[in-house]
């Protein structure tokens, strides 16, 4: 097969890789992208998008089920609903398919050449791709590694049989009667909550003392409350030990050291993700590492000239929007523009019920960095919009420097507040002070008023509390 020679080769068409290729194509860079599975990567095929589809379906089902009970506050009565999960999954797959072809269309429009098949480095400039029609050799001036990450497997609980990863959980044919989730991080809780709403008896097993350990206890409290409401059993300080001997449950060791078997039809293991650094010839390059990740500098350059790396393979936070921003930056660098990573905020959203959104520094992080801080917090229980949508739990919190009122971080927990992430990040990127947020008219009645009130509170003159 004839060799392809190009200026830029992107390995992996996840959110980082495809954005990089599209932007490079827009800038007139001769670009090739290689994808082993499907365009869109984890995010689009087995991550963000399908999980949000499932969460939405579960919420709708739960809402209707709630109405069907005798005591619906709104006065709506409906028949007991039924859920056909197979249909839900088909609907979800339809959306994924639409987005798949959307990405491919955008790549083509940017005149990016797409090669399907697993790639393997021969050397720093040459990659071999096993395509359906044979080995394709690609030579490139610049290579971008965007191979992403994959779920971590527990050695004593290997995937297979009842033990599933998030990937399988998104394509189940029926709702499992009893679901045990190992790992109380955001992926486990998002899916665990969805299945609880669809009717599963869900138990979450978390080894640390708190679910969502990366968030502070205050932010997690409304989520824990809602889980309890949904009947989800949360076992903290509890270790998973392996499958029970019959294979119909999970052996655990509880906080007090007792072993116990949790009966389960499915065991969903969500104990984190690891960078995909094997199977594509990284060993041929001997790139410097930073822990498990490939080490990069502020221009996403690796230790080898002409090789960049972006996305989950380069480190935390493993988030699609970080990868996209890196991909865009690298494309511009390859096109000869002067760019360096100088983002102030990589917001993070947790689509639990209620949702959690964070940007910048938490109060503890800010203090640990030596700032004297001023904190304002406003509860949704004092927000009209929250009351009228029957979801008053949660709050908005703003963390600012005490000396200049410069906003250092913003956090919120509450129904639908993932959409506040853009405001939060904009405030941080623009270098907003408390006065800026307090002095901006926030439309009434919306949840976003809570942000303005939090800023006012930090300044010492909240109006609605």
């Amino acid at each position: 097969m004839k060799e392809i020679v190009c200026k830029l080769l992107v390995i992996g068409a996840g959110p980082g890789g495809y954005i990089c290729a599209i932007r490079a194509g827009q800038l007139g860079v001769d670009t090739v992208i290689v994808e082993a599975v499907k365009a869109g990567g984890t995010c689009l095929n087995i991550g963000c998008i399908p999980s949000k589809a499932l969460i939405h379906a579960a919420e709708e089902f739960d809402r209707v089920r709630h109405m069907s009970s005798a005591s619906d506050a709104l006065g709506i009565s409906v028949e007991q609903p039924r859920l056909d999960l197979a249909q839900t999954v088909r609907w979800k797959d339809g959306i994924v398919g639409r987005l798949n072809s959307g990405v491919l269309g955008l790549l083509r429009k940017a005149r990016v050449k797409i090669v399907h098949g697993p790639a393997r480095f021969r050397d720093g400039k040459t990659v071999e791709v096993e395509t359906e029609t044979g080995t394709q050799v690609i030579r490139a001036e610049t290579v971008v590694i965007a191979t992403g990450s994959e779920p971590v497997e527990l050695p004593f609980l290997p995937f297979g049989g009842p033990v599933i990863s998030s990937t399988e959980a998104l394509s189940l044919a029926s709702v499992p009667k009893r679901l045990v989730v190992v790992g109380g991080g955001y992926i486990g809780l998002e899916l665990g909550t969805a299945f609880a709403k669809m009717g599963s008896e869900v138990t979450v097993v978390e080894a640390t003392p708190q679910i969502l350990p990366q968030y502070d206890a205050e932010l997690v409290k409304p989520v824990a409350r809602r889980l309890a409401e949904l009947g989800v059993q949360v076992l903290t300080d509890t270790k998973a030990k392996g499958l029970s001997s019959q294979g119909d449950g999970l052996l655990i060791e509880t906080a007090d050291g007792k072993e116990q078997a949790l009966p389960a039809d499915r065991i969903l293991v969500t104990v984190g993700r690891r960078p995909r650094t094997e199977g594509w010839g990284l060993e041929e390059l001997d790139l410097e590492r930073s822990g498990r990740f490939i080490r990069i500098d502020d221009r996403c350059r690796t230790s080898m000239r002409g090789i960049h790396a972006i996305g989950d393979v380069t480190g935390e936070p493993m988030l699609a929007h970080r990868a996209m921003a890196q991909g865009e930056m690298v494309a511009e660098i390859v096109a000869g523009r002067k760019r360096a990573w100088d983002k102030r905020s990589i917001p993070a959203v947790c689509f639990t019920d209620p949702e959690i959104v964070t940007a910048g520094l938490s109060p503890d992080e800010a203090r640990a960095q030596g700032y004297e801080v001023r904190i304002g917090q406003f509860p949704f229980s004092a927000n009209g919009r929250a009351m009228t949508t029957q979801s008053e739990d949660g709050f908005v919190r703003v963390v600012a420097r005490a000396d200049t009122n410069l906003v250092l971080g913003l956090q919120a927990v509450g129904a639908g507040i993932s959409e506040l992430s853009s405001t939060f990040s904009l405030a941080l990127e623009m270098g907003a002070r408390l006065e800026d947020i307090a002095g901006t008219i926030h439309a009434h009645p919306t949840r976003s008023e809570g942000l303005q009130e939090a800023a006012l509170k930090a300044l010492g003159h909240a109006l609605h509390i």
Binding site: R301, K338, R339, T404, N405, E429, G431, E435
Partner: protein
């Protein structure tokens, strides 16, 4: 509402003027009683000026770096109550009562009042600045070195494209935020954008730093010494092997209350012995008056690096100090100099000076004489060198002495004899201790 004028206090003996080194307030700031308003520097002491009243700052009478005569108005404060302007001379925080003669001199040299030079932040009502040209009234917030500059993504992108390091741009916005205007101004001032290809970048930005305070004093002193004194520098190597053995022995045997001996106390003793024979080297030269003053006492200045810069504390009456006594005094003075607690009399009055870059290495220095002295002895690093003893090479500890002399007063011959005598004493250290 009344007005209260604070004048430059008489900050010390015979001082007619002082340099303003720092403002702690700006016009519009509220002040409380005893709040520090400014810092001024005289000689080598920094003095803080407290506020005697409570009120609001109206006007600052000088800029940082200005020299202000004693009794000249320093700032005006608006106070509640009496409408009659009150002038006050604030006693300086650390200094004794003013002296009459100093006041007289001060009044003979009044400082110009320059309302125009006051920062625009004062925004007097008569100001005719167009509203759109008015700058935000907040002063730039100083940034920590590692702190990321505060600027919107659009400003950051422009800076990247122009190759500008935003850390060098002053932000005039809230909390020190850098806006498009600040970037425009920075570019207009002619900061050359750095061409930044991968890796090595050209940096063409320049930074102007006003020489004030300690650095200005050092600069003046050095200019005086270097321009007035024709230096002759003489370098000789000294075999300090025996001296080092002796020093090691003495350090091992020292009592708990004795400091660790360096080579300096020995050198000081050797200098004292030599200066007794060559009084013309232990002298000061007032070239305006044409008078050389020789001293019976040997006050040895010790050039000392401090965080603020070079200063020279003085070991007084070295001729009357033993090795241990000298060592104790050296330790005490070095400490006082470094943490800024040295008294003025401990920082002046030397008759000869030692300068040592010791640990840093270097084989030769060309020391600049501490005006109006006529000699300075520089110590270079001790190094083990092969020395031919007549039959073979042996390792010896060799130290160079780089000494400068005022060639108007000290002839080359005498300079050489001075250094050779010190060399003899240091090479046979027993001689240092032999009386007579």
């Amino acid at each position: 509402m009344g007005e209260f004028i604070i004048k430059m206090p008489d900050v010390g003996e015979g001082v007619a003027e002082a340099e303003l080194v720092e403002w702690h307030v700006k016009p519009g700031d509220p002040v409380r009683e005893d709040m520090v308003l400014a810092a001024v520097m005289t000689d080598k002491a920094t003095v803080e000026i407290p506020s005697p009243v409570e009120g609001t700052v109206l006007w600052l009478g000088a800029e940082v770096g200005d020299t202000v005569a004693v009794k000249a108005p320093l700032l005006r404060i608006e106070i509640a109550g009496e409408g009659e302007p009150v002038a006050a001379e604030v006693p300086a925080a650390t200094e004794p009562a003013p002296k009459a003669e100093a006041r007289e001199r001060a009044s003979a040299e009044p400082i110009k009042q320059q309302p125009a030079a006051v920062a625009p932040a004062s925004a007097a009502p008569t100001e005719t600045m167009a509203p759109e040209a008015r700058k935000p009234t907040e002063r730039p917030v100083p940034r920590e070195p590692a702190e990321r500059p505060l600027a919107s993504p659009a400003v950051r992108l422009r800076a990247q494209e122009a190759g500008i390091d935003l850390r060098q741009v002053t932000g005039t916005g809230p909390a020190g935020r850098i806006g498009h205007d600040d970037l425009d101004q920075f570019l207009a001032r002619g900061a050359q954008p750095a061409i930044a290809p991968a890796g090595l970048a050209r940096k063409t930005a320049t930074e102007e730093i006003k020489v004030t305070g300690m650095r200005r004093r050092i600069a003046e002193k050095m200019r005086l010494s270097a321009s007035r004194i024709p230096h002759i520098t003489y370098v000789e190597e000294v075999d300090v092997t025996d001296l080092e053995d002796l020093r090691a022995t003495m350090n091992e045997a020292r009592k708990p209350d004795q400091p660790k001996l360096t080579i300096l106390p020995f050198l000081m003793r050797a200098m004292v012995r030599t200066l007794a024979e060559q009084p013309d080297v232990n002298a000061t030269f007032d070239d305006d008056a044409g008078i050389v003053t020789r001293y019976g006492a040997v006050h040895i200045g010790i050039a000392t690096q401090t965080p603020a810069g070079l200063i020279v504390p003085v070991v007084r009456h070295a001729e009357a100090r033993s090795i241990w006594d000298s060592a104790i005094e050296l330790t005490r003075l070095a400490e006082a100099a470094r943490n800024g607690t040295a008294a003025r009399e401990e920082l002046s009055g030397s008759t000869i000076t030692i300068t040592s870059l010791g640990a840093l290495g270097g084989i030769v220095t060309t020391p600049i004489i501490n005006h109006p002295e006529v000699a300075i002895v520089g110590v270079n690093k001790i190094a083990v060198r092969p020395v031919w003893d007549g039959t073979q090479f042996v390792p010896r500890k060799i130290m160079n002495l780089s000494s400068s002399f005022d060639h108007r007063i000290v002839d080359g011959w005498n300079a050489a004899i001075f250094v050779q005598r010190i060399k003899t004493l240091l090479e046979t250290p027993a001689l240092i201790f032999i009386e007579g």
